[in-house]
């Protein structure tokens, strides 16, 4: 950790941010540093343990190398160094959520009222009390976030959303930018650069949570009408209030299960996006939702998803590490999604899978967080790249 990490204080604090006192800023920064230390300093030791202890033993026993990540996991399971790293990583995640919740609960009366006031016009949100939670959302609290994205512990509670908003910095150390919207910004940049003539009029974002990546799309296409859907009521209410607070008015948040988008007409969107969505789906919804996307997407339109890269062709040890979240961070579908054949999946849902492309979209380095680029203005190596896959219909 040769370079100093940005402070949590550098985030853009929109109207819904709670007041965060200096002690809590210290704690947030501590956890950020702890995460970076675990990935930068401790995790390499896990690889060493694999290469020096576990792999030789495996080879001796089986006369070959492990064939897949499952074999690596079984072989690594009782390795002491892995256990410590895992225990620390899990614990840091739990500390992040406790800290986030304790901070937002202090100001929850104020923030609850602000959200209510920002939503009083009711012109950018459509809630549906009949919308039920799919099992892939309700089975466990994903990434160990108490209450997941949808629980309201008291009337009009938005603490799950508020805590998520202020806490995501702790796992990304500012790479997502001041508004944690780097992925969506990157998508906007990529479209502007690669497809300057593509001017979507209607955009649908699926599984928007609090709109981190839907809002920058609305900003990139100010003349477009953006609809962002999710099943999680408190997240949607927070998202709609947050968009207002940020002065973004061409976006509507709707409570809707993406598996049933009957409300949307055939071929009614030019662009359909998701961000970090598919790994929280399930076998059934991956098919039904993408089939639905194909139906609502105009011919000539684009659907594109920001998602962690697939495991395909990655060394088995790397697959095993990438897959940590599946069993250890309450992300049960993570690994299964990441081993899926993307082209074949698109074909199963009515697209021409052979047209699938994968790319990296790049967000600008946020100078408020990381300072100005070095002499020469090159952001080489600093600009974060977000993995994406998509298909033109």
């Amino acid at each position: 950790m040769a370079k100093s990490l940005p402070s949590w204080s550098a985030l853009d604090k929109h109207e819904l941010f709670p007041q965060v006192k200096s002690d809590d800023v210290s704690r947030l920064n501590f956890l950020t540093h702890l995460n970076m230390h675990l990935s930068g300093n401790v995790l390499p030791g896990v690889k060493t343990a694999y290469e020096t202890q576990v792999l030789p033993e495996f080879k001796q026993q089986h006369g070959r190398e492990p064939q897949d990540r499952h074999e690596v996991r079984e072989a690594m399971d009782d390795n002491s160094y892995l256990q410590m790293w895992s225990a620390l990583r899990r614990n840091t995640m739990e500390m992040r959520h406790q800290l986030g919740r304790s901070i937002v609960l202090k100001d929850s009366d104020i923030v609850t009222t602000k959200v209510k006031n920002l939503l009083s016009a009711g012109d950018n949100i459509v809630l549906d009390d009949n919308c039920t939670l799919p099992y892939n959302v309700s089975a466990v609290d994903v990434h160990c976030q108490p209450g997941c994205y949808y629980t309201e512990y008291f009337e009009d509670d938005v603490t799950v959303a508020n805590s998520y908003d202020i806490g995501i910095f702790v796992t990304t150390a500012g790479l997502l930018g001041g508004l944690s919207d780097g992925g969506g910004q990157g998508l906007g940049n990529w479209l502007a650069k690669q497809h300057p003539d593509f001017k979507p009029k209607r955009i649908l974002d699926i599984g928007c949570t609090i709109g981190h990546n839907a809002v920058p799309l609305a900003q990139a296409f100010p003349d477009a009408e953006v609809i962002a859907i999710d099943v999680a009521r408190p997240s949607l209410r927070y998202a709609a209030a947050r968009a207002k607070a940020l002065g973004v008015h061409n976006i509507t948040f709707m409570q809707m299960d993406a598996e049933d988008m009957a409300e949307f007409a055939d071929e009614s969107f030019d662009l359909v996006t998701t961000a970090m969505f598919w790994h929280e789906a399930c076998d059934r919804s991956m098919i039904s939702i993408l089939t639905g996307i194909n139906r609502v997407l105009k011919t000539g339109g684009l659907t594109i998803s920001l998602e962690q890269p697939q495991y395909t062709d990655k060394p088995v040890y790397e697959q095993f590490i990438r897959d940590w979240d599946t069993l250890n961070n309450n992300e049960p579908y993570w690994g299964r999604m990441h081993e899926r054949d993307l082209a074949q999946w698109h074909s199963e849902c009515g697209f021409d899978g052979s047209k699938l492309f994968e790319t990296g979209v790049i967000s600008k380095v946020d100078e408020n967080i990381f300072g100005k680029a070095d002499e020469g203005g090159e952001d080489f190596g600093r600009a974060p790249v977000w993995n994406a896959f998509g298909i033109w219909k």
């Binding site: 501590f30 609960l105 997941c148 069993l327 049960p332």
Partner: protein, 117 residues
């Protein structure tokens, strides 16, 4: 919402059975408590550093005065609440274990099976 309620909501555990990583449970809990203490110590150090800067800048308080400080009744009451919150945070792992004892979560591996066709 009262203070006690906020404390308990802050320590809500995430639904889903927690894996155990270390050989025995108590060791793992001690580790969690230790890391929480590390964070608290860190923020205390920073606060002290800020205080020292301010004191030095303004030339107000001597080291002696700090050592012999007597908090007022209001300050004492505030510190009690702070201490309760402090313990609530650093003993999180035991609080959540207590919550877990009365829950009936499936393992994430079991849920993965259910998510398959």
């Amino acid at each position: 919402m009262d203070f006690a309620e906020k404390l308990s909501l802050a320590n809500t555990r995430a639904k889903g059975k927690r894996p155990q990583y270390l050989q025995d449970k108590q060791t793992e809990q001690v580790m969690a408590i230790t890391m929480a203490l590390a964070m608290e110590l860190h923020s205390t150090k920073e606060r002290l550093a800020s205080l020292e800067c301010l004191l030095a800048d303004k030339g107000i308080i001597s080291r002696d005065e700090l050592d012999n400080f007597q908090p007022s009744a209001t300050e004492t009451a505030k510190r009690s609440l702070d201490t309760q919150e402090y313990l609530n945070r650093i003993l999180l792992v035991l609080d959540q274990e207590k919550q877990a004892m009365t829950s009936n979560d499936k393992s994430v591996a079991e849920v993965l099976e259910e998510l398959k066709d």
